[in-house]
Symmetry: C2
DNA sequence: ACCTGAACACCGTTCAAGT
DNA sequence: ACCTGAACACCGTTCAAGT
């Protein structure tokens, strides 16, 4: 048998990459053994020679994604380290929003997560954080990042395009039913350049300020 | 025909309640038309007389869940209002962790969400928040809550039982590979009563302190 | 008006069979 | 050693049929 054109050997790596492409196109529900197989020009059953089942494939996919989050520089000051982690994580998750839906059903922090924890605990303890405060700080920043991207992904407009106002107009919020909300939105848009995406750094700054205050008070 | 024992008339409400029970038992993936039907002693096809399809049912289920989050008292001070919202939301989501997985794939804030936004904007603007700061404050607290419960749900131990140490021992973290992490965990557990669940109020306090600082500085 | 059975195009997974 | 076809028990959904 001659090698077929465009048909390389299967491997775990190629399967995970294919699964990621399928998820990027159609969300996590599109990731079926049959779809991933067809992305590779192969029957679904062939995948079972390289991953033990679908659940294992999803675990690998989750690791694949979280490995993309950058580990902050060893020389970074604590504030930069937390901030870099937050920005890198939010970028990765924004590019692959299906990752959040996976978090809930995947168990266990994987190797890539542990490497992140370890590195961050190193930076923070060097900066004088107690074990407790370091844990709180990291957990809080991570929770904020995950939750923010999750919220963002449910918005009915794309925050990147700044179409917030068009959306609000379109919905035609009932002013008598939601007076406070209507006024707030009016105020936001009257400035002419409100973007929900900016809330990310605003929230992160509030968080880091809160952590700094706690650090100095310890 | 005589009414069958235990077989009341179907209704949208009964279907949503049944779907919630199925999700509580088996997670969101267990919510299939056939499973929900069988929970009600009825064929899957019968459901289509009351909900247009599965997607509509999941939207109703999402509304059902978010309606459970308490709207803070009108007289509450801003800090209490945000704190009550955070605690109520985290309780509801902790009791029904499948709700988070739904957020990502559900579009649109529903009526119950809008009511919350409106009420909170009312409390915050009375307390002197600008529209921008009010939005940032609410978005940040919500992101933190969602993200925290999401993180918590991926932990391999139940934070309510305080079995953190047993887990850490069991994993047998490689001290040479993750030295900082190992030391941090050692410090945490040496106090004898570390509980990850406590990170919630610790993080929330940091957040509220950060918001207060911003409010006074405006 | 409300419920159902059969049917269709999908799933994950097993297993025996091909090369 | 690696891939596949047929099969099984599941999905969501349609549609014609029952009461």
């Amino acid at each position: 048998m001659v090698a077929m054109p465009g048909k390389e050997r299967l491997s775990k790596e190629r399967i995970i990459d294919a699964a990621a492409r399928v998820a990027d196109r159609g969300g996590i529900n599109a990731v079926t053994m049959r779809q991933v197989g067809s992305e590779l020009g192969v029957e679904a059953m062939s995948l079972y020679h390289h991953v033990s089942n679908k659940d294992a494939l999803l675990n690998e996919l989750s690791e694949w994604l979280f490995r993309k989050i950058q580990i902050p520089n060893v020389d970074a000051r604590w504030r930069d380290a937390l901030s870099e982690r937050a920005h890198s994580a939010s970028e990765v998750l924004r590019a692959h929003p299906w990752g959040l839906g996976m978090l809930e059903s995947r168990p266990q922090p994987g190797q890539s997560q542990l490497r992140h924890y370890d590195s961050m605990m190193g930076r923070l303890s060097e900066a004088g954080f107690s074990a407790t405060l370091a844990t709180t700080a990291f957990a809080t920043v991570d929770a904020f990042v995950f939750g923010f991207v999750l919220t963002e992904s449910t918005l009915p407009f794309d925050p990147a395009t700044g179409a917030e106002q068009e959306y609000a107009d379109e919905v035609g919020l009932d002013e008598s039913e939601f007076p406070h909300l209507a006024r707030t939105l009016g105020d936001l848009f009257s400035s002419g350049h409100y973007s929900f995406g900016d809330e990310f750094s605003a929230g992160l700054t509030i968080l880091l300020d809160g952590i700094e205050r706690r650090l100095l008070g310890e």
